[in-house]
């Protein structure tokens, strides 16, 4: 029993001391990020807020008319967290737990994760029927704004 307890305490200590080196997760954005817009390259005409929330929660993979959609995620960070909180009300840990359930059960594919905001812009501009989100001031004239999440 003594050895067991020792091994246990050692493991916990080892894990706890290595944790700070890894850095904290990005669960709490400090400054409020810029307003976020949901954008598409074109082709998609309208998107309701409810549809958008269902898409980004993995509850649907197509638009109402059956058009399959490719979702583009920003890299993990305050802009992505702000977007999910505004649209779905879920915090980053909830969002990741939800997507890991959906993806690893083989129900849906996860959004394509862009390496950076500028890559997200490129992917959105180039991929047919792509839907993504960007800070309002980062969108450009190749993209169409479907929804503005600033109202909430």
């Amino acid at each position: 029993m003594h050895n067991t307890l020792g091994a246990f305490v050692f493991s916990v200590l080892a894990l706890m001391t290595t944790a700070p080196l890894a850095g904290p997760p990005e669960t709490q954005g400090k400054a409020r990020p810029a307003e976020v817009v949901i954008v598409t390259s074109g082709g998609i005409k309208v998107l309701s807020r409810e549809e958008a929330a269902q898409l980004f929660l993995g509850q649907r993979t197509t638009l109402r008319d059956g058009t399959p959609v490719t979702l583009i995620d920003l890299p993990a960070g305050p802009a992505r967290n702000h977007f999910y909180r505004e649209l779905t009300g879920k915090n980053p840990v909830q969002v990741r737990a939800n997507w890991s359930r959906l993806v690893f059960s083989g129900r849906v594919r996860p959004p394509l994760e862009a390496g950076s905001q500028s890559e997200a812009l490129e992917l959105l501009a180039r991929t047919p029927n792509a839907i993504g989100y960007l800070p309002a001031n980062a969108s450009d004239n190749r993209l169409k704004i479907l929804l503005n999440l600033s109202g909430s």
Binding site: M1, T4, L5, A7, F8, S11, V12, L15, A19, A22, G23, P24, P25, E26, T27, Q28, E50, Q54, Q59, R60, T61, T62, L63, R64, D65, G66, P68, T70, A76, G89, K90, N91, V93, Q94, R96, A97, N98, S100, R101, V103, F104, S105, G106, R107, R109, P110, L112, G115, S116, S118, E119, E122, L123, R126, T127, P128
Partner: protein, 431 residues
């Protein structure tokens, strides 16, 4: 050292290598960073068409490195019918798992999904097995058919039994989740999504078969398995109801069972009758589950009730669990109460010969999982896609049962009404 420890080490290595594997695959995409996007035409040749990002093979994965220590020397914690009783304490066997997941889309409506998983089996091996292997096809935007191997969908949280990152606990409560230990369903299912207002409804009928190897040799087999699940989600609340019926075979061929059979055959003309209740291919079972979840971002409440009725080979039992968890930033402490109750034992027939009856009773008790427990633990999301969990479990075995424990010396086991403490620590990642 021993086999399980080596397997745990191998799994850990895999766990650290897997992100590299993924990066290697991801690196082949022409445009996964601004720099490669610019360079892509040179690499691919200017005339090469831009590949469609959505059709590419994608690889990802999940893993848990977990250990559990039991406070009593003569018993081992097990997930009954899931993993092998460990020889080591602490034991890395029950919770350590790694899965690698790949999918490729085959046009707009179809996709192929493959997943391999490595975890300790009832035979003590970490050999990878195919946990998912199916083709899905969207018949309409709201109806998907899947053919091949899917996860057995008997419980509310069946899909995440091995994906611990998606759950608050180290493992789903064993009282409930050991009531039906099958893993994969080979067959066909339909996912029908519908909704009224803000309420999403999923109707999930399925048909297939499943096979599971058992400790020391033999297997259990579900065939002609048909069931229906319905889940309803409205805001933070999800309700689940599922029911399944199946033909059931259980064939023991391990040494302990063969010794018991030989002894019974030697002493009683009733042996065939007794053994026919323990092992054979003429079973039928029904299983039902009712569950609810509330997750508002701050509070996470989970409750599930399950019930198994079986004609032969396994006991009739019901089980429930209730979990309350509360998020405080990156910490999510939780409290779980759970109970597994036997309604009808596998067999009550005895021979009248004390030594043989002791063995028979030990065998039947080992098939009884009745216990109740309280679990106190916390999840700590200390890094992106990584969670550390720490939990303490106090279990009390109910009556002639082994609960979720395995006696190291089965013939001399004193399990009745014992209290056993376990401590678990695990790290879950997704990549």
């Amino acid at each position: 050292m021993n086999r399980i420890f080596r397997a745990a080490c191998a799994t850990t290595l895999l766990l650290f290598m897997a992100p590299g594997l993924r990066a290697a695959v991801a690196g082949e995409r022409p445009s996964h960073s601004g720099a490669t996007a610019a360079a892509a035409p040179e690499q691919d040749g200017a005339s090469a068409p831009q590949p469609d990002e959505t059709s590419r093979f994608r690889i990802s994965g999940f893993a848990t490195l977990g250990m559990v220590a039991t406070g009593s020397r003569d018993v081992r914690f097990i997930r009954p019918s899931v993993n092998h009783p460990g020889g080591e304490n602490p034991d890395f066997g029950p919770d350590t798992v790694i899965g690698v997941h790949g999918d490729i889309s085959l046009g707009a409506r179809a996709a192929l999904v493959l997943q391999a998983i490595s975890r300790e089996s009832t035979l003590g091996s970490f050999d990878p097995r195919a946990s998912l292997a199916f083709v899905s096809y969207a018949l309409t935007p709201n109806v998907t058919v899947r053919m091949g191997r899917v996860r057995v969908p008997f419980f509310m949280l069946s899909e995440t039994i091995d994906i611990n990152y998606a759950n608050p606990w180290i493992r789903p409560p064993t009282e409930v989740y050991s009531l039906n230990p099958f893993n994969e369903l080979d067959g066909i299912d339909f996912l029908v999504r519908t909704g009224i207002g803000g309420v999403n409804i999923e109707i999930h009928p399925y048909y297939g078969s499943s096979i599971l190897p058992i400790y020391q040799g033999g297997n259990s087999h579900l065939s002609n398995t048909r069931g229906l699940n319905i889940s309803v989600t409205a805001g933070s609340l999800t309700l689940f109801a599922g029911h399944t019926e199946s033909e059931f075979a259980l064939k023991w061929s391990g040494n302990d069972f063969l010794a018991l059979s030989a002894a019974l055959n030697a002493v009683t003309p009733n042996a065939a009758n007794i053994l026919g209740k323990l092992s054979g291919n003429d079973g039928f079972s029904t299983f039902s589950a009712l569950g609810a979840q509330w997750d508002d971002g701050r509070w996470l409440l989970i409750g599930e009730y399950t019930r198994l009725d079986s004609r032969r080979y396994t006991h009739d039992a019901h089980a429930w669990e209730v979990t309350v968890a509360r998020r405080f930033g990156n910490f999510t402490p939780y409290l779980t109460l759970a109970r597994h109750t036997e309604d009808k034992p596998v067999s009550t027939d005895m021979t009248g010969i004390p030594q043989i009856d002791d063995a028979l009773r030990a065998f039947i008790a080992s098939r009884n999982l009745s216990q109740r427990s309280v679990t106190l633990g916390t999840r700590w999301d200390f890094y992106r896609n990584t969670a550390l969990k720490l939990e303490f479990n106090h279990a009390r075995i109910s009556g002639e049962s082994w609960g979720s424990f395995f006696a190291r010396d089965p013939m001399n086991a004193r399990m009745r009404d014992r209290s056993i403490n376990t401590i678990g620590v695990s790290v879950d990642v997704t990549f």
